[in-house]
């Protein structure tokens, strides 16, 4: 089995598209718009962990080749009205690749409601939240692209999905690598689900979270972490509105979940090196978080292993929205039943 994820020029990408390859693309909007139509979906983001290290580029495109051995694929665009069907429409044996534009209503809807979608997590759904160059914040919008059909569709409030069917005997397995673990600090809970909050319940006592963060001098580069039966799931801090004393997050907090702020990490490269399995090579797709790229100062540094390569995104999707996490899907061979 051959799995390829690589940073290519516009011309190299055009060649792949016109040859009929099925592709997942990540790059700057102005470059992606120059591509021909074909069997591809894409999203905007200019930050990547490439073979030569962390890089920001507005001219190259990160290309994920959908494996040639797949038996079928279907590109579908979802709106807010039907995104709740995404798990139901995943192939019975296969996986689905999804890209959603950041800060769009469908992004927020998916993040808040995804875990309650019909057949949530029954089938592998992996992907990312499209973003933009940080210099363009406030000026440009993230976009996703449906590259098939008569013309490229550039979308600001839709999710693009490529549903991929696998041959019998193969399956996709999604895993995450989260270098953050729960610290020893206070237990934090919330009164309602949401991307922002005024009040948090800290060790059982309601407090204004913004004031609590300031009084305790918390470093908001380190996310809140919740323990999902052994899976550490992050919620990253986006900003604190000091005028209104409101805290904003890059993913929703959920009522009833218990969070602790993450332990401090000094060396992101070392932490990823400790956890990334370098021997895994059957990686159909992988991505990481722009916050890890920034806070870990990963530009020019190399995270080794095929698992660690990919777009550095505005959010990762491994069944649901994640933050500051590396997510990947590995294609494996099913052993015979007698071995299970």
């Amino acid at each position: 089995m051959t799995f390829i994820q690589e940073l290519l020029t516009l011309e190299e990408t055009k060649t792949l598209i016109t040859s009929g390859k099925k592709l997942l693309l990540a790059g700057d909007e102005e470059v992606i718009k120059q591509l021909p139509t074909g069997n591809w979906i894409g999203g905007t983001i200019p930050y990547f962990m490439s073979e030569s290290g962390g890089i920001s580029t507005r001219t190259n495109i990160y290309v994920t080749h959908v494996p040639d051995f797949i038996t079928d694929s279907e590109i579908k665009v979802y709106t807010e009205a039907n995104i709740a069907n995404v798990f139901k429409e995943c192939p019975e044996n296969g996986f689905s690749l999804i890209i959603i534009p950041s800060s769009s209503p469908i992004h927020f809807s998916f993040a808040l409601n995804g875990p309650n979608y019909k057949e949530f997590a029954v089938r592998p759904l992996i992907g990312w939240i499209a973003g933009i160059h940080l210099d363009d914040l406030g000026k440009l919008k993230a976009k996703v692209f449906d590259g098939h059909g008569d013309s490229i569709k550039s979308l600001e409030n839709e999710a693009v999905v490529m549903h991929v069917s696998l041959p019998k005997g193969k399956y996709g397995e999604i895993e995450i690598i989260n270098i953050f673990t729960q610290g020893e600090g206070d237990t934090i809970q919330f009164l309602e689900d949401g991307f922002s909050t005024e009040i948090a319940v800290i060790n059982g006592e309601e407090k204004n979270l913004a004031k609590y963060i300031k009084e305790n001098n918390l470093d908001i580069r380190f996310p809140l972490v919740s323990d999902y039966y052994g899976a550490m799931i992050n919620v990253s801090f986006q900003s604190i509105d000091e005028e209104k004393n409101i805290v904003n997050f890059y993913a929703p907090v959920f009522k009833g979940a218990e969070y602790k702020q993450a332990k401090v990490i000094a060396d992101y490269v070392a932490e990823f090196a400790n956890q990334v399995p370098e021997d895994k090579t059957n990686i159909a797709f992988s991505c990481n978080c722009i916050l890890n790229y920034l806070y870990g100062e990963l530009e020019g540094k190399n995270l080794k292993g095929q698992v660690a390569k990919g777009p550095m995104t505005f959010g990762e999707i491994a069944y649901q929205l994640l933050n500051q996490t590396l997510a990947y899907i590995e294609i494996k061979d099913l052993e015979s039943k007698s071995e299970i």
Binding site: P115, Y171, E335
Partner: protein, 90 residues
């Protein structure tokens, strides 16, 4: 291992949090965590039955996967019969 039917009480044990598990199957961790939050809000018979159905469906749709089989055995702690332990086979 065959998947026990809905009436097996251990399904309810998973979503109620009575017993703590270290699951191997990553999506199972996400599903059960969500179900636990749901049960905290409402542990009505309707919610419980819905969650049990979802949970079992996750296992049914993925039953051939190695991590799913490990988690199934963990939850239902099936032991080989004394004959199998000594002689193996069916």
């Amino acid at each position: 291992m065959d998947i026990p039917d809905l009436s097996n009480e251990k399904w309810a044990g998973v979503i109620s949090g009575e017993i703590s598990y270290e699951f191997n199957f990553f999506p199972l961790k996400l599903l059960v965590a969500r179900q636990r939050l749901e049960m905290i809000t409402s542990s009505s018979p309707e919610t419980t039955n819905k969650c049990i159905n979802e949970l079992r469906e996750m296992f049914v749709r993925n039953e051939n996967l190695p991590n799913v089989q490990k988690d199934l055995k963990q939850i239902f702690k099936q032991k080989k019969s004394i004959w199998k332990r000594f002689f193996g086979g069916k």
